[in-house]
Symmetry: C2
Subunit: 395 residues, 2 copies
């Protein structure tokens, strides 16, 4: 059984702060600073160029990938790290389109993170494909025989609504299409099972629930049935079958290694390793149970004490990730007041108060405190909109 | 005048090592570990999500870019950081092709770094363009009226041969084409003048002469005449005109900002900042003079004392970067012996011993020591090929 008191103690959480924004940027593992300092002092500084072999920098993207694989229901050797999530979306989408050369339609939804849609729009323009964007609830009906790729973010960044990955993937496959899943708000938040869902490609970032630090590297997964045939457009030397042969022609590396592009971000990966030292001991079923307990308690508390707020997330926990949204017409001002009182969530236009619950370090005390402070702010009405807008401009 | 004794003292150079491989990975600035530790403790750990504004993470890619701009003859607001060099090559090349929609030929040379050629090959296949690769000396004659983009690395990674950037750019422009320059072996090594050469796009990495650490982020420069019209295929949210409006449609940010893609690598950028604190005080003319003095002394010393070695770099320093190559039939074994004796260069197949001279921290004592050790190794012939191959397999 996972000891969540212990995992909470492994993070630096500022005194007096209830941090419910780990779905934007996770807090720092206490061991991260030492891990990075050691990498710099013992590896970069002393080994210099030999660190690529001696310290294992060259194989680090795959070794770190293997540790993430367990958290998302993937197998060893199926995940590789590097670049940013937007770049990984580009790689997955361009590779998927190449696997369906007779089809040119990409389907996504308006709940997808905008950057995913921008990347898809860029690919569609370049390759002569069409991007269709429908409402999240209209996705299933929009899957038709012309579809090349279904590209969705599993958990909606504003509402926390969780798509049914196995069902939608199966629908896409029935229609002869491939399914790409963005796990930005899933990895480390819910019990993802990529192989169980029979997904085709998946991508995600590591600076949210996975606590890798600001701008931490992304990951990409390819189902084994595609790994040896996927053709990346982004052909970089680290994805070459023999990078140090310096051949003039590109030959993709075996399997997921071909999704590497340039030189891996070694310092950033060492910070992420400190977080994975914690994750290695976490049971994902226990994590999911705790996530549901936290979000259920928060919804119940807010609805009991804050009648002005309207739930903006699915009520059924099975259809929800690890975050909860509530709407309020003066949402921005309310969130500013909350942050000033030490309860950190965030605001998404036009009116959503968004609270992320990271089971690794958030607990029921965080929930109680957040509900209590939120109720007090709304009751006192001291969060006068003008005043908080003014304050927000200053800070 | 730049004080190179002081700049040398600013780096950690392992005791007893003569490091002539800064053209692969630069050594660590002494201040880098503290800078990164401070970023982690004071910014990530304490500010959490508010660091994007409070600590300036969001504007860091441009601010760091401005400091690099001075080193490569570019202006303020023209350079932005992020991703890897291969990704930046992709961005520059796809944007350049879009500016010449009636032409589909990309010209490069066999002296270009393989990853650049792989990226170009991937783009060519995806967009229906043609990549032509000729010998470095045949580039000028190969520029014809069908050319869309000339894409070259200024300084050859094996030979150190430096292309004439102003002349080749002018030839490309006369032919109606655009010119992209990869500065991987130029930035921090020679006196680059992008605006003076009237180049169109430039890209580079920061882990070589710029000492940003293993996998440090890349940079991209767009000439101001293209900055507002260049259309990136890699459309990421950080390159959007209003990233936090979360619009569903992409609108490119003004100028070079549109070349940003995903979330910037904040920890890695802070290590690079420690190096730029040194670079800020370096006069690039003085740097170039010192580079020439070092490489000239090395060539003269080796040719005087090592008659078996054949120079593999241009003899004219004006046509050379800050590295020198020599050929030897047992080059691999000789380099292993050199490294064992504390003189670190590297080997490039089939027979090249490559020595990088980083004017910021290498000095004439490094040159003397390298020549002396190299001469002794060749004279003693104790570097028996079999033996050193065996040693290399073990270490």
């Amino acid at each position: 059984m996972t000891d969540f008191t212990k995992t909470r103690a492994a993070f630096h959480l500022p005194d007096g702060m209830t941090y419910l924004d780990g779905n934007s940027l996770g807090p720092m593992p206490r061991a991260a600073a030492d891990r990075v300092a050691a990498m710099m002092a013992d590896e970069w500084s002393q080994m210099l160029i030999t660190g690529w072999n001696k310290a294992g920098w060259y194989v680090q993207p795959r070794k770190v990938g293997d540790r993430i694989a367990r958290l998302i229901g993937a197998g060893d050797g199926q995940v590789v790290m590097g670049d940013t999530l937007s770049i990984k979306v580009f790689q997955a989408l361009s590779a998927a389109l190449a696997l369906r050369p007779d089809r040119r339609v990409i389907l996504s939804d308006s709940g997808n993170f905008p950057s995913d849609l921008y990347v898809a729009e860029g690919i569609a323009r370049a390759l002569g494909a069409t991007l269709r964007v429908v409402a999240p609830e209209a996705v299933e009906a929009a899957i038709g025989p012309d579809l090349a790729v279904l590209m969705l973010t599993e958990v909606d960044y504003r509402t926390g609504r969780r798509h049914d990955m196995p069902a939608l993937t199966a629908r896409a496959h029935e229609a002869g299409a491939l399914a790409i899943w963005d796990l930005a708000h899933s990895a480390g938040a819910v019990d993802v099972d990529l192989l169980g869902a029979d997904a085709d490609f998946a991508v995600g970032c590591t600076y949210k629930y996975l606590n890798g630090g600001p701008g931490a590297p992304a990951f990409i997964w390819t189902h084994p049935r595609h790994a040896e045939v996927a053709e990346p457009i982004l052909q970089g030397w680290m994805g070459h079958a023999a990078p140090f042969a310096f051949d003039q022609e590109y030959r993709p590396a075996p399997g997921i290694e071909r999704m590497r592009v340039g030189t891996p971000p070694v310092i950033a990966l060492s910070a992420l390793e400190a977080s994975l030292d914690i994750w290695d001991h976490v049971d994902m079923g226990a994590l999911r149970a705790r996530s549901i307990a936290l979000t259920e308690a928060f919804i119940a508390g807010v609805e009991a004490q804050c009648p002005d707020l309207v739930l903006n997330s699915p009520r059924d926990p099975a259809m929800r990730g690890s975050q909860v949204g509530f709407c309020h017409p003066q949402g921005y001002a309310v969130m500013q007041a909350l942050i000033a009182a030490g309860v950190v969530g965030d605001f998404r236009a036009p009116d959503v108060l968004r609270f992320g619950f990271a089971p690794l370090y958030n607990d029921l005390d965080d929930v109680s405190r957040a509900v209590e402070v939120l109720a007090r702010i709304l009751r006192d009405a001291s969060w006068d909109q003008e005043e908080f807008h003014r304050k927000a401009d200053v800070t």
